[in-house]
Structure formats: structure tokens, C-alpha cells
Subunit: 666 residues, 2 copies
């Protein structure tokens, strides 16, 4: 039944061989991967301006230069990641690059930072999207947590159904947002340049001079903070490099192309918005975003304005979806390397990493509930992880470029992950990577420093904790591998099987007689062990045993008299003593007769002694447990099978007594 | 660890042989069993008066006659139950008497009615006791649900520790309440009769005449309702007859004596309170109970007043405890007869029916939460069950007396439960029983009729539903008994074991090789079955299999190629086909190699394929499952055991590949 519900929700299972068909073409891939960095334009320019405004609105002229600096950084990161994609065509992003070039711990820190950031991408973007909805419909504000959780559930469902659908569903809003904002920028530029005879743009000239003049360090610190704020535009850029394998063939080339298109689009919007808002002397206001002010001034409160507002909300939900592409994929890499549970690398019925998707849904939903869907409160935790992973990834690429520089022209080398060969301009590339690593490293430090008390400390603590968890999980898998290793395996290493079968019984009936017969098949020394909690029980067992001389021939009946009701303890002690004293260092077999009731509800009517005993014996090293099931059939089915039953008369006196005694066994 | 917590909470287990010592002497038994009927005096008189007041305070003179009628009924019931105790010295009360004399369904209705009433005894008494506490400390009123639940938890704990302690702890408040109220009544009587030179009692003479005069049916209906209200004094009377076995020997005599003492005390208090409150012309008020008014007028607001108020609260908690004596005991009777889960007849570590105690605690706590600890709202559900069981019990006794009358003097007969012999005055006894059954039957009908819409319908629906549940449970146990019956058992009835062992494996490693070795011990036809989800896996398994020619000699390797990831389905299908097609009607053995991780937390890191497979195979009739465990040890322990491990170098390429593949198996 539960499998029918599952099928109705997420669809019929896909065969493994269908995997190739589930990949993304470039148009869909751009929609899936670019929504996160492109959606940053909803707030990135404003993030710069809201720092500068401290010096008075006159200082806002600094917005464009800072935006150009951010854009340069973005271009540098894009370049670095194109290098990564081309050198690592199997994908992997910061984690793989750091692993291949810097070693275990840098790669684990990159992995941990990215996983945390992906979770926050979902929480922040879903919450920000809901903020856009509740701004449009203020009456819905009290339900913001509920709406955000519903959005996350919807995105989870779409992703569980498989990647192609998610690409198709998500393509429209991304392109609608990009198209809308681009149109606004083009109209704005045309009006500002006086083209096509359009009315010139309104320009506000009420600039307030700085209330105090910051000099030296304080001024530079403020500029850095403004720059750091603008760096929210960088989140999500690395997604493509991590997901090269989700592209249609040729994967690396398609991914690199998509990366370039994404960088161009995102920076066009970013610089366009930054130029126009500086040119128009817009001032950040709490009640209305810069993007909204700009759109309204350029295009009026018409169709285009509402188009942009609507698709701002939708693209933010798509940005949340990016986390659903990245988190399960990176988790599967880490699981494959033994740093996360192995089952996280298994694909589900629809060829997606279902377990990663579900874990992401649970954690990000918890954060939404914890922060009451307030994305402003979450922002100080966000983007830190991305900057750390940029730094590590570019440092790794710089290291790779050094290796490439050491090669002779024509020579190739396999690094363990990818094959490299000599490149002419490796010096230049390495310089760019070093510069990028330094810049993003500084931004990381600025982010931690300026936001530490606002919540960045949580992430600063969580990243090493997750690395510690990776390490512990890896230690476990090392133990597994060593224990199971067949290296130097000799036949005599495998333990002998003792010629004994212990059969715990509570009574003599069809079920236990069947188990005893089975035990006789596999061992010569068969012992039926029964715990007698009173002299009555002792006597009854002996009497009933004597009734089946043929069936019990050659079997030793061991009755353990016990003055407490907890019959598991004497059984366990007896079995352990057989193992320890009689058959040291051999495998001892325990045959457990087990009732299988006719349905799950009937299970409540039996006291599960067999289950509890099996669970206790699991912890013993040298004990093998055999379940001999005995299925309980409804009386009418027994009659149908030709068994002689006597329902009306009820059990005979002896059987009635037996029926009662069974309670101890079942 | 959990067993240490258990021991700290409820104490060390008692040996079964200590059982006799845990019985109650008469003093303790009275405290345990009589608190319920005696505590009724806190509200029984008032229950009569609050009906009569409808006619004006002048009608309150009818209180004493009605109280005398109730007291007669109580005496009749007490007499009937003494007969029951003497004729059924092994105990059992209404359920046993109805079973022995009226047959299955009357006894099940009696059992169902009593179980429900016992649950309500706990909920009502705990809530009423809390009401007494919150009346004394009005600030605690908002926490009444919490206090009631704490009280129930405390009573549960005391009962789980064992019956002797509960008798000791509970003796003091019962006797303190009885002594206090008796003293108040004696002083009141002395003052009313002008003895010892005490001041005469205040008498209020502002009787209000009836606002309307009821005639005929309406008047009788009102009298019946007042009488029914007073019948709350009868709840709990049957407890002793149900618990004869809890008494010290001679059980029946001690129980009968205790019954008489209890009846005398309860009725002395009831008639005393009724007489004095009628004599003083007290009028029921919402803010102060009749008992409180009477005590205050007779003894003043001094030590005696607060003594009575305090112990009123405490005896109500003791009344709740009565449910903890009765419910588990009656449950164990019903379980013993196969109408409740068999494990309810098992005694726990401290020789009490722990499971019954815990079930009672959960259900009565739920009712307290549901009714927000408001006992007034629960009262319409209460006392119905007791009246139905009285009726059935006395009808049964009347039937028994008829049987006794048919015997010749000197002749004896065994009814199936008890031995009877001719008694001279059987006619008289039978008349009394018939009268009692009729009276309590009428009271039952009055209770249902007058309280139906106030909640009595819930119980009227619940009683037959519980009987239906008894019936279903009994059908299951009949199936069990018939399936396991050894009657007409022939050796050839037990199924043959097929000479085959199917070993599902995910890879070739120490764990699976051990399982294969074991399989070779028990069957000649051993088949290692592996699901290959890709050609890579197929090829790898064949290669690794070939590495162990000696260990795998004579074992067939079956590789099932499968294009989905759900490997359980092809494994299950293969095993079923072996059973259905190759070895029809024989037992087929499946040997499952199973990882046992080093701790519970490590279990999360494996995907439990072995567990899931075992669970699926449980539903198959002819499949026997063998778990061959393989314990994962921490690497340092392996070294200590002399195994060659190579942690720093990591697994070899081949072992690394194997390590990854293990994920599918574990």
C-alpha cells in the first residue's frame, strides 16, 4: 500500500539504463543553475548602497565603482570555474578540486562549507520568495512560515520526480525574470541617452552630504563592508561546475558555455541596475526595494512593473531549487568517498538522490521554522560557506596550474581524478587563480568579521563540526573495509561451525517440533532448552515431551528452573555458556521457532520473545540465529487445507493448557 | 542502561517464590479496597440533595429516606458479594460469576463494563482529588491537569513497585479520613441529642416550599433520579470479591470479613452524614460541599475541619489507586481466558501485572487530558459499568442458588470454577439475589436514561465495542491453538527440508565467505545470489568470485542482472521461484550474511538490506532464514586481535572498490 502511495506521488520507477535521457540541455540547465546567482540581483545592488548610505546619500556615487569591483570578482570566479570545468570534465567543483590538489582536510572543509551553504540557499531563497508574495498580499503575512514550508515541499516533490521535469517547469520564470529586467534596463538606458525620442529619466538631486567624514581605516572598512555586501551576487556561481554531469554530452563544453552565458547575464543585470540607480540618485528605502523603485521610475506602474515583481518572487523559489540540485549531488560525492552514509550515493526510483533531497528538505524546513521564515535574520549565516569554498577551489586550481607548468609540452599526467597536459599560458592562469583565492579569502574574512555576532558564528562553528562528523563516518567505513578485507585471507581464518543446535522452546507444539526437526537436519547435538518458571511448568514440559518419543528421539531436553519471570536472561546465559565453555571459538547455532501471526495487528497479541532473544544474541560474536517460522492461519483456512480442527468444542484440556503456555513463547 | 534505570525506579526483581509474602493483611486490604466506596461519602449525600432541591429546600427531608434506600441496596450488594466470595474463594467477581453461571457473552459484558469503570475510577477520583487541592490553593487551579497527571504517575509508580508497599503507604489516609468523619458524626450526634452538656446543633429553618408540585410519574422520576445519584456510593464495592487472591490466607474468610467492615464503615458515614445534614436543614451550595458545611457547623473551622478536608483529598487519590488493583487483575483473568493479549497475564519484575498497570495509566491519563481534569464532566460516564456488572453478577448468583437447591443434602458438584454443595436457605438467598439484580438493573437503566446525552452514550457504545474486541482476540488465539495443536500429529505432517541454501550476497568479502561456508555445512546445493545493477557490477563480482576458487568450490554463483536500483525485489522473486518451482512444499533455507556495526549509531551508516530482506521473507510460509552475523570491530581492536591491518595506506585499489560495493550489502 505504501508503495502505491509512493508511486502515485513520484511516479513509476525509471530503469537504470534510462539515466542518460534524464540529463539537461543548455536552455534548461541555465534555468536550473543560474536562478541562484541571477536572483541575487533582487538585492545585491541594494546591499552595497545600504552600507554606503551611512555616509549620507552623497556617498552613493561609490556604488558603481564597488559594483564594478564585484563584477570583476565575479568574472574572475567565472573564469576560474571555467578552468575547473575544463580540467575536471567529470564535475565535482570545489570539493573535488581541493581533494585533488590540496588533500583531505581542505576538501572536507570545502565540502562542509558548501553543504551548509546549499541548505541556507533553500531556507533563504524560499523565505525571500515568500517575502515577495506577502509584500504583494499583506494579508498573507501571518502565514509566511506555512507558505515557505509549502514552497519547500513543492520543490522537494518536483525534485523527487526527477531532474528533467524540474528543468522544464523552472525554465519559464527564469527567462521571464531576465527578460523583464533586461527590458527595464534597455528602456532606462535609452531614456538616459535620449534615444528613440523617449522622455529623459527623472534624476533626484537632493543628495545629503556625509554627516561625518570617515578617514583612513574606518573609510576603507566601510568600503570593504559595502563590497562584501555586494558579494551576495556571487552565491550560486559554483553550482554548474559541481553539476557538469547533469548536462547533456558534451558535458564539459556545454557546462562551460552555460557558465559564460550565466556570468554575462548576471553581470549585465547587476551593472545595469547599479549604473541606473546611481545615475538616478535612488536611495534605499525599507518599504520599497531599489529594483522596484527603478522599475517603477523607468516603466511606470504598468504591466512591466508587475511582471518584474511577480518573476522576482518566482526566481527566488527557483534559487531554492538550486540547493536541490547541488546538495544531493555533493552528498553523493562525499558518500562515495566514505564521508557520509553510503546510502546517500544510491539513486532512488526516479534516478535522483532521494535521500539527499529528503535530508535537505528536513533541515532547511527546520531552519525556516526556527527563523520564522525571516530571511533577513538568516543572511548573516549565508554566503560564508560559498566564499570559503571559492578560496579553497581557486587555491587548488593555482596548485594544479603549478603542476601543469612543471610538465613538458606533450606530456600528460593523471592526478588521480583528471588528466592534465602542458598549457602555454599556465603562468597567467595561475596568477588569476592566486588573485581570485586571495580576493575571495579576504571577502570570507570580512564576512565572518562583520557578521560574526549577528549569526556568522553559528556557521563558523558548524563547518568544523561537520568536518569532524565526516571524519568519524570515514573511520567507521575504514573499520568495515578492514574487517571484511579478503587480503591475506586463508581458509582456516574462517571460524569452525560447532556441531550443536540450541533450540529455545516454551512448549511442545507443532511449531517447536518443526524447529527441532530442522535442527536435527543441521546438527547431531540438538538441545531443546526450556525455562521453567514454576514446578508446574517443569512437570508439564516433561509430560508433553514424553508424548512424542519418535519426534524427540536423540534430542536432549534441557529444563532451566528459574525463579524470576524474565526468561530471556537464563536462555541467553545458557547459550553463552555453551559457546564459551563447550565450543570455544566455534560458531554456535541457535534455532528459534517463531510465530508469524496472520496480520500486523495480531502481532500485538504475542509477546515477541523470539524477537527480543534474537536482538540480544545479535551482540554475540559467534552465534548464528536461525528463524524457523510458523505461520498462524485463520481457522477456516486450516479447514480448507484439510487440517482436522475442532472449533466448537474448543481445545482439549491438554491443548487448552498448551494454548495458555504458548503465551510465553510468542 | 535502560535496565539500570528500570531497576532504580521500581526496584530489584522479586523471585517468583516470594509471591505469597506480597499479599495483604486485613488492615492494609481495607485501606486498599475500601478507599473507593468510602471516598464516595465526599459526594454521595450531596448527589441526592442536588436532585431534590429542584422541588425547593422543603423537599430535602426526603434525603434520609432515599439514603436509607441506597444503604439497603448497599447492604444487599454486600450480602450478595459475601455469598460470591464464599462460593468463589479463588476470586473473580462479576466476570467469573457471570462466566460460571450465565455463559460467555454475559461474562464478557460484565468484564467490559468493569474494565471501563476501573479506568474511569482513576480519571474521576484523581480529578476530584485535584479539585480538593485546587479548592484549598486556588492559585494552583490552572495546573489542575498537570497535578492530576502527576498524581496518576505517582500512583502508577507505587503500584509498579509492588502491592505490599502500596498497602502500607495507603493505610494512613484511609483511616485518617474515616476517623475524622466518624468523630465529626459522633460530636454531631452528641450535640443533636444534648449529651455531655455540649451546645445543641444549629438548625436552619428557612425552608423554601416547592415552587411547583410534581405529581405522579414526574415525582417518581425525580425520586428515582435522586436515588440514582446516591448510588455513586456503590462504586467500588465489588473490588474485594475480584481481589480475594490478594488477601493473606485464609483468603475467602479475610475477604468476607473485610467486606463486612467496609460496608459497615461506608454506610455508617453515609447515613450519619445524611441524617445530620437533613436534621440541620443544610442546603447544597456550589461553593462548599455538604460534607464541608456539616463539618464546619459541627466542629468549627479548627484542626478537625482541616483534617477532614485534607484527608478527603487524599482518600480520593487512594480511590484512584483502587483502579490499579482491579484493572490489572481483571485484565489478567480475561487474558488468561484468551480475551485480552496473553502477555497481560504475565507478572513483571515486582510480581505485579505491569502491562495492565501501564495500559491503565495511559488510558486514564488520556481521559484526564481530554476532559481537562474536570470530574463533573466525567461523572455521567461513571458508575454505569459497575451497575451493569452488579446486575450480571447477582443474576449469576441467583442461577447458582438454583443449582444448589437442586442438589441433595451432602451431594457436591464442580461447576467448572468452584465446588458447590446443598445449602438449607438457598431459597431465601436466591430471592435476595433476584431482588438485588432487579434493583441494580433498574438503577443501571435509570443511569443510562437520565445521563444518556450528557455522556453516558459513550460508555453505552464502548461496552459492546470492547466485547467485540474480546471476541476478535479470542478468535486469533483459537487459530493459534488449532495451528499448533499436536492432536493427530504424525511425523510426516512436518514439512521436508529442501537440500538447498540460497545466500544473497552483494560482494565477495570475509562476511559473505563466512556465510557461504556455513551454507555448505547445511546443504549440498548452495547458491550465492547477487543482483547486478550494472554491467560493471556483474563483471566485478565474477572477477572477485574467481579469486577464491577453493572457498567457492561447489557453490553456484547466480548473478541477476537488474535495471532498477531496488535489489530486494529480484532477490525475493528468485527465492520464491526456488521455493515454488524447484522445491514445492519443502522448506527452503536462506542464509543472510549480516553486518553488525560496532554501535547503534553506526547502524545509520548502513542501508539495512539484510533487515529488509528478512522482513520480506517473514511473510513467506516455507522459508527459513539464517542470519550469519559479521561483527565490525574498530580498527585498533582488529590489530589487538592479531589481524594485519593497513590503516595509513588505506584499502588497496581492489579493497577500496569492494568497500564501496559493501554499501549495497549493509
Amino acid at each position: 500500500m505504501s508503495s502505491n502511495i509512493k508511486r502515485a506521488l513520484i511516479g513509476a520507477p525509471f530503469p537504470t539504463s534510462r539515466e542518460k535521457h534524464e540529463r539537461l540541455d543548455k536552455t534548461r540547465a541555465l534555468a536550473v543553475f543560474a536562478s541562484d546567482p541571477i536572483s541575487s540581483n533582487a538585492y545585491a545592488t541594494e546591499a552595497i548602497m545600504s552600507v554606503l548610505i551611512v555616509l549620507g546619500s552623497g556617498a552613493l556615487v561609490l556604488t558603481l565603482p564597488i559594483a564594478i569591483a564585484v563584477a570583476s570578482l565575479v568574472l574572475m570566479v567565472v573564469f576560474s570555474y571555467i578552468q575547473t570545468i575544463l580540467h575536471y570534465p567529470d564535475g565535482g567543483g570545489a570539493y573535488t578540486v581541493a581533494k585533488d590538489n590540496l588533500g583531505k582536510y581542505p576538501s572536507l572543509f570545502a565540502g562542509s562549507a558548501l553543504l551548509i551553504d546549499y541548505i541556507l540557499t533553500v531556507s533563504v531563497s524560499a523565505s525571500a520568495g515568500v517575502r515577495a508574495v506577502t509584500s504583494a498580499f499583506p494579508g498573507s503575512a501571518p502565514y509566511s512560515v506555512l507558505i515557505a514550508l509549502t514552497a519547500v515541499a513543492l520543490i522537494t516533490w518536483i525534485n523527487l520526480r526527477g531532474v528533467r521535469e524540474s528543468g522544464t517547469i523552472f525554465a519559464v520564470p527564469t527567462y521571464a525574470f531576465v527578460g523583464g529586467v533586461l527590458l527595464v534596463i534597455i528602456i532606462g538606458m535609452a531614456r538616459s541617452l535620449g534615444l528613440f525620442g523617449l522622455a529623459p529619466l527623472p534624476v533626484y538631486h537632493d543628495a545629503v552630504p556625509a554627516s561625518e567624514t570617515l578617514v583612513g581605516f574606518a573609510f576603507i572598512w566601510l568600503l570593504l563592508r559595502a563590497f562584501a555586501g555586494g558579494c551576495t551576487a556571487l552565491t550560486g556561481i559554483e553550482a554548474i561546475s559541481n553539476g557538469v554531469k547533469a548536462f547533456k554530452a558534451p558535458e564539459a563544453r556545454n557546462a562551460a558555455l552555460t557558465m559564460v552565458v550565466m556570468g554575462v547575464i548576471a553581470m549585465s543585470l547587476f551593472l545595469g541596475i547599479s549604473y541606473l540607480s546611481t545615475h538616478m540618485h535612488l536611495i534605499p528605502e525599507e518599504s520599497e526595494s531599489i529594483l522596484s523603485q527603478m522599475t517603477r521610475d523607468i516603466a511606470g506602474r504598468g504591466l512591466l512593473y508587475f511582471w518584474v515583481q511577480l518573476f522576482t518572487a518566482l526566481i527566488l523559489f527557483l534559487a531554492a531549487n538550486t540547493g536541490y540540485q547541488d546538495f544531493p549531488r555533493l552528498s553523493s560525492f562525499l558518500a562515495n568517498d566514505g564521508y557520509l552514509p553510503r546510502w546517500m550515493q544510491n539513486r532512488g526510483d526516479r534516478l535522483v538522490y532521494s535521500s539527499g533531497i529528503l535530508i535537505l528538505a528536513v533541515i532547511s524546513s527546520s531552519i525556516i521554522i526556527l527563523f520564522r521564515a525571516n530571511e533577513i535574520a538568516m543572511l548573516p549565516l549565508y554566503a560564508l560557506g560559498v566564499m570559503l569554498s571559492f578560496t579553497l577551489s581557486q587555491a587548488g586550481m593555482a596548485h594544479l596550474m603549478s603542476k601543469i607548468g612543471k610538465l613538458e609540452p606533450g606530456e600528460t599526467e593523471f592526478t588521480g581524478v583528471t588528466t592534465i597536459h602542458y598549457e602555454k599560458n599556465w603562468h597567467l592562469k595561475r596568477m588569476l587563480n592566486i588573485l581570485g583565492a586571495t580576493m575571495t579569502g579576504i571577502v570570507f574574512i570580512i564576512l565572518v568579521a562583520t557578521k560574526f555576532t549577528e549569526g556568522a558564528w553559528i556557521v563558523a562553528v558548524a563547518i568544523p563540526l561537520v568536518v569532524f562528523m565526516f571524519d568519524r563516518i570515514n573511520k567507521h567505513y575504514q573499520s568495515v573495509a578492514q574487517t571484511l578485507s579478503t587480503r591475506d585471507l586463508l581458509e582456516e581464518d574462517l571460524m569452525d561451525v560447532a556441531d550443536v543446535a540450541v533450540v529455545p522452546i516454551a512448549d511442545v507444539h507443532r511449531g517447536t517440533l518443526r524447529a527441532l526437526q530442522y535442527a536435527k537436519r543441521i546438527a547431531d547435538d540438538v538441545r531443546a532448552v526450556c525455562v521453567a518458571t514454576s514446578p508446574d511448568v517443569h512437570e508439564r514440559i516433561e509430560r508433553r515431551w514424553a508424548r512424542f518419543p519418535k519426534l524427540t528421539a536423540g534430542i536432549e531436553l534441557v529444563i532451566l528452573d528459574y525463579d524470576y519471570r524474565d526468561i530471556l536472561t537464563p536462555l541467553e546465559n545458557y547459550i553463552v555458556s555453551v559457546n564459551d565453555e563447550e565450543f570455544t571459538n566455534k560458531l554456535v547455532t541457535v534455532v528459534i521457532p517463531e510465530f508469524i501471526p496472520e496480520g500486523w495487528s495480531a502481532g500485538v497479541l504475542h509477546n515477541q520473545t523470539a524477537n527480543f532473544l534474537r536482538r540480544r544474541l545479535r551482540s554475540k560474536q559467534n552465534i548464528i540465529v536461525i528463524d524457523v517460522p510458523y505461520h498462524i492461519l485463520p481457522v477456516d483456512e486450516l479447514v480448507a487445507n484439510g487440517r482436522k480442527v475442532d472449533v466448537d468444542a474448543g481445545p482439549t484440556a491438554d491443548d487448552g493448557e498448551q494454548q495458555k503456555a504458548d503465551s510465553a513463547a510468542t
